[in-house]
Amino acid sequence: MLQVSGLTKTYGGVLAVRDVSFSAAPGQVVGLLGPNGSGKTTTIRILTGLLTPTAGRVTWRGVDLQPQILDYQARLGYVPEEPKIYAYLTAPEYLELVGGLRGIARETLYRRINRYLELFRLDTDRYAPLSSFSKGMRQKVLIAAALLHDPEIVVLDEPCSGLDVASTLVLRTLVRTLAERGKVVIYSSHILDMVERVCSDVLILHRGRIVAHDSVERLRALRHAASLEEVFAALAVDQDVEEVAHHIAYVAAG
């Protein structure tokens, strides 16, 4: 069980995340939603151990993260929002780097890499540098890198970014399958339709705070909304979208 209690993060006086608490059990897919600047990415970076909280704690199996951070990160797979990758490496080289750093045995590593490249349809580009890959291709490499060591916890930050329709459908089923295999999945995305289909629980952040935390069905029922989009718009969107869109369209005309 991944438990987050009273998580707070401040950057130079600016409160990015304020008193966020939730839990994620094996087999659950917890969705993380929020507009830009809501503290979503900060929360994710704390969950992955890349940032340390100003206050609050994150525990894994009842034990605080920081004393066991190496052990925790060894069980974690992370797909970041921005595909920041060593672009001069080829896909197999990057996956070998990640797998080697995680101590995967050589033969096992090569077998897994070849299989991932085949399944993601990247095997014809195995000798091309990542700099020549499209955004979607790089995203596939990052997903493969995150799953290479069969992690117990999978954190996905905008994993569909750049993926084509077929790959997005594959990812949707992949997330469900990972949960069925007993993994803890944290899924952050702006694509509400996708979140609605794959997540068992949803957390909506707004200005660093949780404004909603429940299952999708309960949230829709509570807000009398037909979709998660309506729930999100009611809780986390400050502006009149129709008016803003209209003004944008006419800026250059006037």
Partner: protein, 550 residues
């Protein structure tokens, strides 16, 4: 600049200022050093005239070398890349307009750089000439010296800059972008190494050029002499003017710049299209396979192997880091060459048939500069934003050090040892050649173990401190280490090479030193973890993932 030497984390302004100041320093201090020489030589007019010509030639050659250095760093930036075309290609701006803008910017940078390099020495040299006013007929008019100095250095530099740009552009037209890119990368490295040799051996080049003045037809075919003529056209004295040289000096830059303009502007649309349509395929195939094979064969631990392969791949594919290493290699060749030249002056002819300290020092010097060149390159990140891969995996410090040591052995010690073994096999008998190679291998290993004592970071992953910290190097320690490693160990090797017992003792001594360094490292290591952030410095601007906002 980002394409060549500096990473995007560097403060560009500071980098440019520091680099320009560095290049301007040598001629300026050289001019101070020769203060009073003209007054001193006033009673020897023949000598004085030769000295004046030699000094002016030095400034001309220096400007040409500085411009060549700049061209090697900048020439890739003149061609559009995929990202440029994806942004600019959709805008209503012609390809020729963009190419013209790039070329104009490059020329402006070159002119500014050369002016900055030339001005301090021009001012100081004018003072020198004014101080030698009693011999004005021989040293020239001080009123004309300042414009002459500036004009000669600027014209020489712009001529060289334009010529190299034109050559690079022609290469792309003739052999295609990919082949030209590879040739340019090799040319860039070779240029860097050669430039350093010419810098160091400039005093021997100048007299050779001066001999060309005796033959007008030969002089007209020697570019540095054109600009000497231009210098003399402003500053005099009349005896130094050779017909036609000044005109060539004035025309040559215009011609090369015009050719460069044509070479870049005419095929601008073709180059732009190529940038988008050419896909970089299979560039990694041969190096990826080789790197994988080497890492599999050399190292067992998975994490060590991963870091080792990553380091090799980064070195093989980063032009920026290759230039850093080429610079150190060039310095090594120059320092070793100076030692040989000095030995030649003592013993004519230079004896190669028996071991001598100046011969044994050569591989030691090369290895020293390669090891520290690699260490310098490791400190410059390839992509700081991507180092989250290592932050997540947190490799153990022991694995990092093993990987770095393996790269240093493979990249510096083994190639030099192999080359040295081949050379000594042809020069000496097999026993001596084997002894020399064994001693050098042991020395290299000891140096590597000492060099990784303070290793704290995975190569290329650490946020890089701003340029003041970059330029600040512990020169004193570096020179001391070089002196001890290259110029004291050669004496020990010379004493040891005569007998197998001596060789064995030397090798054993180096092994003990390596083991001691390793033991010290292990004792010092606890507790520390691998570093990813830049050293703490109030003046530093760094990218630090742990402080990044969400």
């Amino acid at each position: 600049m980002d394409a060549a030497l500096a990473s995007r984390e560097t403060d560009a302004t500071q980098f440019v200022l520091w680099a320009t100041a560095l290049v301007a320093t040598l001629p300026f201090f050289w001019t101070i050093k020769m203060m009073g020489v003209y007054s001193f030589l006033a009673r020897q007019p023949e000598v004085l005239q030769q000295v004046v010509i030699a000094h002016r030639l030095f400034f001309v050659l220096y400007a040409m070398l500085a411009a060549a250095l700049l061209a090697a760093a900048l020439w890739d930036a003149l061609f559009p890349d995929r990202q440029d075309q994806e942004i600019l290609g959709v805008l209503p701006v012609g390809a020729k307009t963009v190419a013209a803008a790039r070329l104009t910017a490059a020329l402006a940078v070159a002119a500014g750089f050369l002016a900055a390099v030339a001005t301090p020495s021009a001012l100081m040299y004018t003072v020198n000439v004014a101080a030698g006013f009693k011999s004005q007929a021989l040293v020239g008019s001080w009123l004309g010296t300042l414009p002459g100095h500036l004009a000669a250095m600027l014209a020489a530099g712009m001529f060289t800059f334009g010529a190299l740009l034109a050559l690079r552009g022609l290469a792309v037209l003739c052999v295609g972008a990919e082949a030209a890119q590879r040739a340019a990368a090799a040319l860039q490295l070779v240029t860097m190494i050669l430039l350093l040799q010419v810098f160091i051996f400039l005093p021997t080049v100048v007299p050779a050029l001066m001999r060309g003045l005796a033959d007008p037809s030969s002089a007209l075919a020697t570019p540095p002499l054109w600009f000497l003529g231009l210098f003399a056209a402003f500053a005099g004295p009349p005896a130094a003017r050779v017909p036609g040289l000044a005109a060539m000096g004035a025309l040559a830059p215009a011609v090369t710049l015009a050719v460069a303009a044509l070479v870049y502007l005419l095929p601008a649309r073709l180059n732009a299209r190529r940038a988008l349509e050419t896909r970089t395929m299979d560039r990694g195939s041969w190096s990826a396979g080789l790197i994988a094979a080497v890492s599999r064969g050399v190292l067992q631990a998975a994490a060590t192997r991963a870091i080792f392969a990553f380091t090799l791949a980064s070195l093989a594919r980063s032009r920026r880091h290759a230039l850093i290493i080429a610079t150190y290699l060039g310095l090594g060749v120059a320092v070793g060459g100076v030692r040989l030249v000095a030995a030649t002056a003592r013993e004519r002819p230079l004896g190669l048939e028996a071991p001598a300290d100046h011969l044994l020092a050569l591989p030691l010097v090369l290895t020293f500069f390669l090891v520290f060149g690699l260490r310098a390159a490791f400190a410059v990140p390839t992509d700081v934003d991507a180092n989250w891969t290592f932050r997540m995996a947190q490799p153990s410090p022991r694995r990092v050090v093993h990987a770095v040591a393996a790269v240093l052995m493979l990249g510096a010690v083994l190639p030099v040892t192999t080359a040295w073994a081949l050379v000594t096999t042809t020069l000496w008998n097999a026993d001596r050649a084997a002894a020399a190679a064994a001693m050098h291998l042991a020395s290299g290993w000891a140096l590597v173990e000492l060099a990784v004592v303070d290793c704290r970071a995975v190569p290329f992953t650490r946020a890089h401190a701003a340029s003041p910290n970059t330029v600040r190097i512990s020169w004193a320690w570096f020179l001391l280490a070089l002196h001890v490693f290259a110029f004291r160990l050669d004496d020990l090797q010379l004493a040891a090479i005569g007998s197998s017992a001596g060789t064995a003792m030397y090798v054993a001594g180096m092994i003990v030193m390596a083991a001691a360094a390793r033991a010290y490292r292990r004792w010092r290591r606890q507790p520390w973890s691998v570093h990813f952030d830049a050293p703490i410095d109030a003046a530093a601007e760094t990218l630090n993932l742990s402080q990044a906002t969400g």
